[in-house]
Amino acid sequence: MSLILNIAVDGIAYGMILFMISIGLSVTMGLMRVINLAHGAFALLGGAAAHALIARAGLSFMAAALLAIMATMAIAFLLERLVYRRIYGLGELQQVLATIGITFIFIALVNRLLGSSLLAIPLPDFLQQSVDLGFRVLPAHRLAVILAGAVVIAGLYLTIERSRFGTRLRAAVDNRSIASALGINIDAVFAATFCLGAGLAALGGILGAELLPIDAYYPLRYMVLFLIVVSVGGMGSITGSFMAALALGILETASRYLIPDFGTIVFFAAVMAVLAIRPRGLLGKA
């Protein structure tokens, strides 16, 4: 019983992290059809900036996390204006190459500035303690991650389903040219979405540093994990990404607990089976 609960809590927390990091990737892919392999670099930037601000500048966790997320969004904004803008029109292969190139440059930069060792993000005291729920004692960090994930999902739901910006975004994902003809400024919508996605990735990188440790090679090491969430969930589908992230988080955690020797193999075999049955993902559009 306690094993199942552990798997559930760890798995859901892990899934929330995967969701936060991958959702920007899914939406930008659905919107601009750009294969952005460099998306994990935003999670790395967030984590590395938080590490530097806490360990070197001595800021508190909250202030550092906030500043790191804002810095990542600023970098993402510049990158979108200067580089990504030119990538949208390229072929699939060129997009892959260009974004791999961007990933390599980020890895090299972080490596040069902060070294290649593990970039730990020390948690504040209130996240390190345990929380007694009456029937179980759980680590506060996991609960905070799950809570943050729930807030992110609620916020995204309200933004996308209820706000004017969300209406424009959905219209643009459904049909870019007609949305543009109706007077929606696609460029602005995309720039905003790109920055929002990068900010969420940075948040996921900081909160998830316990589960996915941050170092310079982070974007390459976990690239496949983020891509899996997007392809299993279906490009451009927020609900799909959420379901995929939770399912994959629980599956990976369960296979690590129960069959540690073959966890990775079972995980990938399951992903392949899903994609063999539904090549466009769970909720992907045909």
């Binding site: 294969i35 791999i100 891509l227 090549p279």
Partner: protein, 333 residues
């Protein structure tokens, strides 16, 4: 019937115009390099192994348009198969190459049955996943593969029973060059054969190839299997020449770098793969000996430069210059 014959005849006349000129030049340069750089034979051999690997990627990606980031899976499987064969069964190099080719082709066939149904992002992700599974299996099967320590104890017999492998690497060089030439010839034939033409059609428009009755899925699996065999030979060659197989053969960077080399030279042409590999490996050798970490920065900038400024690769530069200096026929008077 006459409609079908048009592309074939144009290709034949083009070959007759310049009979294998680029190939002859490349072979001559390889022989000259042997005499110019007698102390860098190991590097030259490594470059030729990479050329073979990039050639197989060119067949899969440049000709058939299969965007994969998991080509190292086929290379690594060929390397492990040849290494294990040499340790446990027979140390004859040529048989080892055949074993490596068979292993690469088998993995390509099995994984291709799934991969060729996917497109775009899903295909990329699945191809990386296949590589990760292979790496995990090689890592976990420690008794057989040596795990993270690598597979050691590969001692090769003389090539064809005549030429012993020496410390300087002379035999290794000629052996690798011979294998490269044979594989290049095979790939040349494949790309000019009906199946080669048919996958080029699929690359341009899969929907139209379906419409004219071409079995697209089966063609792609076939070409991926042939590419797998060549990648397996490249892996086997690397295992035999370096006498070591480590988990690095499945590294993501290997797949990514091969892709960069191919685009650098110019995808869709066999000599493009050769030129791209040569430039990349030489720059790598110089830059990495200075500072291995700056190398990642250089490679990233290099890739962005290629994508934005010379999308057709180095082979596209002459055409780009001609366009720049020549008269524009479409311009209004």
């Amino acid at each position: 019937m006459s409609v079908q014959e048009i592309p074939l005849t144009t290709i034949r006349t083009r070959i007759r115009g310049v009979p294998l000129m680029p190939e002859a030049v490349m072979l001559a340069l390889a022989v000259i390099a042997y005499f110019l750089f007698p102390y860098d034979l190991a590097l030259l051999t490594r470059i030729m192994v990479m050329m073979l690997f990039v050639l197989s990627l060119d067949l899969v990606l440049g000709y058939a348009g299969i965007a994969t980031l998991g080509h190292a899976a086929l290379y690594g499987t060929g390397a492990y198969a040849a290494g294990l064969f040499a340790v446990h069964v027979s140390a004859d190099p040529v048989t080892g190459l055949v074993v490596g080719a068979a292993a690469g082709a088998a993995l390509a066939l099995v994984s291709g049955l799934l991969l060729m149904r996917a497109h775009g992002l899903t295909l990329l992700m699945l191809s990386i996943a296949v590589t990760l599974i292979c790496q995990e299996i090689a890592n976990k099967a420690r008794d057989l593969t040596g795990g993270a320590d690598g597979l050691r104890g590969i001692r090769m017999e003389p090539v064809l029973g005549l030429f012993k492998f020496d410390f300087v690497g002379r035999t290794g060089f000629w052996y690798a060059l011979a294998v490269l030439c044979v594989c290049y010839a095979v790939l040349k034939v494949v790309t000019l054969s009906p199946i080669g033409l048919s996958v080029r059609g699929i690359k341009d428009s899969a929907a139209r190839m379906v419409a004219i009755g071409s079995p697209v899925y089966r063609r792609l699996v076939t070409i991926y299997t042939i590419g797998g065999a060549v990648a397996g030979v490249a892996g086997a060659l690397a295992a035999q020449v370096t006498q070591l197989v480590s988990l690095e053969v499945y590294a993501f960077n290997l797949s990514a770098e091969a892709l960069i080399m191919l685009i650098l030279g110019g995808a869709g042409r066999l000599h493009g793969a050769i030129i791209g590999t040569l430039i990349f490996m030489v720059v790598h050798h110089i830059a990495a000996s200075v500072d291995p970490f700056n190398w990642l920065f250089i490679i990233g900038a290099l890739v962005l430069g290629i994508v934005f400024f010379v999308p057709a690769g180095m082979l596209g530069i002459p055409a780009a210059l001609r366009n720049l200096t020549g008269r524009n026929g479409d311009a209004r008077p």
